[in-house]
Symmetry: C2
Subunit: 141 residues, 2 copies
DNA sequence: CCAAAAGCAACCATATTTGTTACGTCCGGC
DNA sequence: GCCGGACGTAACAAATATGGTTGCTTTTGG
């Protein structure tokens, strides 16, 4: 259980929702999504809950309820997913404050922050170039 | 203690080694490096041990020993550091195998692998544009 | 009203990271 | 050749995150 797989879970769920939609099933339950991903339904509800808060899916409760895409699959990028489910930085700064008596300890944090932000931005830009529709298309190809 | 700060620790240590070198101290002990980073000397020896295995620093043992840069600071990039300190994937695939009965479960892994690799490559490319000398220069500016 | 399904809280097991202690190993200097 | 300083490393603890599981509450269509 090292690196987190939340983007994977969420992308899988969205691709599956879209495929089901194309097949005429507008709504899937968390159990049905969980069956494809081979995990627990609670995990799916947690993940899709994040996506719902970001507007990427809609959830209906009550009898006959379930999840649907919140907007067309071609308008949901992997960046949208990443932002919805994984708010952690890719690289962390010091855990405890460095020694401010030392010139390096005093000045390094803003420099690394800038640098990490720059790298993270390029990472995000790549994710932004892919949509759920693209992913599903490549899966079915 | 969530996200790991190993790149930060290693970059800090290298910048500090370079500054010491410019000031005439070719060798620093793990205790001296730890003092700037405000952590334990064992953490430094572990981190610099990784860097040594990658050739980024040299370690001398015995009396009066310590660590020095393995090559000029202008020739050590942040990517070198990232690769040296055991880079985990930025995004993980499924934790347990998805349901292969489902078209999405069957096909999604290579697609996401490709996509994650592409994003990771751009992340790495940004790290590769920065050297320890650049970082130190910006710290002192 | 009822039943189905999301929402949610409380756990548990596992893994990782950082930190700490302790000890082995190496090696320059006396 | 010994000695002491410093790296190398193993073992362990505390804190945190993740994934998983169970059980209960809430919502809502029929």
């Amino acid at each position: 259980m090292a690196a987190n797989s939340r983007v994977t879970i969420a992308a899988h769920a969205l691709a599956w929702l879209e495929l089901a939609r194309q097949r005429g099933r507008e709504v899937l339950t968390s159990d049905e999504v969980a069956a494809s991903i081979n995990t627990n339904a609670v995990i799916i509800r947690r993940s899709l809950g994040d996506l719902q808060r970001a507007g990427l899916v809609t959830a209906r409760r009550g009898n006959g309820a379930g999840f649907s895409l919140g907007r067309p699959a071609a308008e949901i990028t992997l960046l949208d997913i990443w932002l919805a489910v994984s708010p952690e930085p890719l690289l962390a700064l010091h855990h405890s404050e460095p020694n401010l008596e030392c010139p390096v300890g005093r000045g390094i944090r803003p420099v690394l922050t800038d640098l990490y932000d720059e790298a993270t931005d390029t990472f995000r830009a790549t994710l932004a170039r892919w949509t759920v529709a693209d992913v599903l298309e490549r899966i079915l190809a």
